[in-house]
């Protein structure tokens, strides 16, 4: 066990995973509410589920999985000191993030236009479980979208530092840890997708 290592990549990885654990618990609270309310309002959740945009969501699933591939490849590229490749892979990842957010904007615009948003008159007039479903929907996907935004920004900073040679095989921590963060964003969506779009 080294005491004063100049670089401790295992330590950096451990620290990052511990942070990811906290993100799991953060979203976990919202999943807990979903679990409770889906049991209580099966009918209203199913009814709302029929109006969800499977097309947008499936597209977003593909987009996020692809972004995960690209960022994982970027890690490999940095480890191999393929600076240019890494930069473009990161660019691709960020592009995917942007596409995801655009899709979300379109999806939500259409729903808001139909009068479905927190505390809307339409939801207030509807059955109780419906409000709860959409409340959870907007909060969970909104929090996730915020993480997409944060992750995308982080990766943009990393991309610039890769291009400037600050991040490289001898100093890959920022690349590796940002990629881990991005994968977490992907992981959360992997569960959001069936819960809100498939099982209802």
């Amino acid at each position: 066990m080294t005491n004063q290592p100049h670089r401790d990549s295992a330590g950096a990885t451990l620290g990052m995973w511990l942070f990811l654990f906290t993100e799991m618990f953060l979203f976990g609270g919202l999943f807990l509410l979903y679990a409770v309310y889906v049991g209580r309002y099966q009918h209203e959740f199913t009814a709302a589920g029929k109006h969800m945009h499977l097309g947008f969501a499936t597209l977003n699933t593909v987009v996020l999985l692809t972004s995960s591939l690209l960022v994982a490849m970027a890690v490999t590229a940095v480890q191999r000191d393929s600076r240019g490749t890494a930069f473009w892979l990161l660019g691709g990842t960020i592009l995917c993030a942007a596409i995801f957010l655009c899709n979300k904007y379109l999806e939500w615009s259409s729903e808001i236009a139909r009068g479905i948003y927190p505390n809307s008159p339409q939801l207030a007039a509807g059955p109780p479980g419906e409000s709860v479903f959409y409340g959870l929907y907007y909060l969970t996907l909104g929090l996730h979208g915020l993480h997409v935004l944060i992750g995308g920004t982080l990766l943009a900073v990393v991309a610039l530092r890769v291009r400037r040679g600050i991040i490289h095989s001898g100093n890959p921590v920022w690349m590796e840890n940002s990629a881990l963060y991005w994968h977490l964003v992907d992981l959360v969506w992997i569960f959001i997708f069936p819960l809100y779009y498939l099982i209802l």
Partner: protein, 541 residues
């Protein structure tokens, strides 16, 4: 005696060996010792503000009816007292201050695993605290919901709940980052020979605490965000009219806030495990069991949250399950108490200030813990839930427990970092005043609770007047003792008798370095060959 000297640093040390001076050298320092002191003075300042609020509350309760304030003010003051004490003092206090000051040295490290993250944690704490303070004087005024922010009131009150809760959210982030920093540090930065079996018990307790900070605090984060969403967006997740369930708020809230009390008490128990062997000149009894019991308390403590909810309307099944599990949590705490007492047995005991606070901890925490069982047993809880009994219980554990240990740690460790010490006699008197005042103040509350006086009530029935008066007088005694303690301690740190390398004869690594320690802690990398309470092995008589 050098008490007349203006400079009080005997040698080159972390106070002056970086070459940087001024306030920027402190608030932008990544040295765990400087960060520890920054935390120390921050938490102490907020503690004192909240003490004043507490004294005001007791003043109001001194006589029935209105004494010095109206009911809205009273509600705001007990809310702010709780918010400051819990989020700005007791949760960050030990990990942030003594955890930072002591833990890296105790494991033989130069610093924590992520020093810049450590500084960032302190800044988040300060920013969150500032946000909370701003919320008191803006918008609809200070929150009046109690620190627990229960729905539906927290959704509807016009007071500045959203901002206050956001401040707590930011502080929660600080706690999370400290937790992950400490877990990584303890795994990755131990010196050669510092095996898990040789770790000081303070480190074990900080390790267990750090895990709780990591797993529980995010649930608080989402809960606080949900309050803001309910207020600002009207999502209705806890609104029965729209299908929401207010009890779900309580589940989410207590999933954090129960483990949070173990964040509060575990490091304190760790400190007691440090002080008792040193002041008994005996190795700790049952080292392994104490270490494991910290992990057991952290684990089992994560499973019992709904014992705060017996009267909320949740199911009888849940009541029984959580009541049973709550009994389980008492067991590892009992293990610690038995082991401390066994350590004392046939020890060569010296009753200096740190030891007095440590010994009184055992009594006060035991009272707190046993009354916790009365609360944890569902049948008896029905009678005392939301009464002054609860208030007495948690002040015995949090104040008599963690609070008194904080004072113990101040007397035990601060001389090491300042190179000077307090005067013993006034410290003992201060302790005496505090001990007597504390028990008068809080034992009365438990009797009042048993007799039926509710908590968070501005007024009370005339038959409760006498005990309330007695309780308030206890608060003044306690406050006098606290004032004497602080004056004596800080005078001593500035101008008291100089202190050598190992004034108490401890065998843990912090006593092996210079007083005060240099910035890099160790002049050469330490190699550990003996256990933390092996006085013989460390060559200490």
């Amino acid at each position: 005696m050098n008490s007349a000297e203006t400079t009080y640093l005997p040698t080159s040390s972390f106070w002056n060996d970086t070459g940087k001076t001024g306030i920027r050298a402190w608030i932008f320092s990544t040295d765990h010792k400087r960060i520890g002191l920054l935390y120390f003075y921050s938490v102490l300042s907020f503690f004192l503000i909240a003490v004043m609020l507490g004294l005001l509350l007791k003043l109001e309760l001194m006589t029935p009816g209105r004494t010095i304030m109206g009911p809205q003010t009273y509600n705001a003051i007990f809310t702010v007292h709780g918010v400051i004490m819990i989020f700005l003092f007791i949760i960050p206090a030990f990990p942030g201050s003594f955890g930072n000051l002591i833990m890296p040295i105790q494991i033989g490290a130069r610093d924590v695993a992520f020093p810049r993250l450590n500084l960032f944690s302190w800044w988040l704490y300060i920013i969150g605290a500032a946000i909370i303070l701003v919320s008191l004087f803006t918008g609809g005024g200070p929150p009046d919901t109690g620190w627990t922010f229960y729905v539906p009131f927290s959704e509807r009150t016009s007071t500045n709940v959203s901002l206050a809760v956001f401040g707590a959210f930011v502080i929660g982030f600080s706690s999370i980052l400290t937790g992950l920093n400490f877990v990584t540090t303890i795994h990755r930065r131990r010196a050669e020979g510092m095996t898990w079996g040789r770790l000081p018990l303070f480190v074990w307790s900080l390790y267990a605490t750090a895990w709780v900070q990591i797993v529980a605090t995010p649930v608080l984060a989402i809960t606080l965000l949900l309050i803001i969403a309910e207020r600002v967006l009207g999502t209705g997740l806890f609104d029965p009219a729209r299908g929401g369930d207010p009890i779900m708020y309580q589940h989410l809230f207590w999933i954090y806030s129960h483990p949070a009390v173990y964040i509060m008490i575990l490091p304190a128990m760790g400190v007691i495990s440090e002080i008792i062997p040193v002041f008994s000149r005996k190795p700790i009894f049952g080292y392994k069991m104490i270490a494991l019991s910290s992990l057991a308390i952290a684990s089992a403590g994560s499973l019992v949250w709904a014992h705060h909810m017996y009267t909320s309307g949740m199911s009888d099944t849940a009541i029984m399950v959580f009541s049973f599990l709550t009994f389980v949590v008492a067991i590892p705490s009992g293990v610690k108490v038995f082991n401390w007492v066994s350590t004392l047995w046939r020890g060569s005991i010296s009753l200096e200030a740190p030891m007095l606070f440590a010994l009184s901890f055992i009594l006060l925490f035991s009272i707190g813990g046993l009354t916790g069982l009365i609360l944890g047993a569902a049948a008896t809880d029905i009678h005392v839930h939301d009464t002054q009994f609860v208030v007495g219980h948690f002040h015995y554990t949090m104040f008599g427990g963690t609070g008194f240990t904080f004072f113990a740690a101040m007397h035990y460790w601060l001389p090491k970092f300042y190179g000077r010490r307090y005067t013993e006699k006034p410290a003992v008197i201060a302790w005496g005043l505090m001990f007597v005042g504390f028990n008068i103040l809080y034992f009365s509350m438990m009797v009042l609770g048993m007799e039926g006086m509710p908590r968070r009530y501005y007024d009370y029935l005339p038959e409760f007047a006498r005990l309330n008066l007695i309780s308030t007088i206890g608060s003044w005694l306690l406050a006098c003792g606290l004032a004497l303690l602080l004056v004596n301690l800080f005078r001593g740190l500035r101008r008291g008798e100089p202190v050598g390398r190992n004034p108490w004869g401890g065998a843990t690594l912090e006593w092996s370095v210079a007083t005060p320690p240099p910035t890099e802690n160790f002049t050469e990398e330490p190699v550990v060959t003996h256990g933390p309470y092996d006085f013989k092995g460390a060559g200490i008589p």
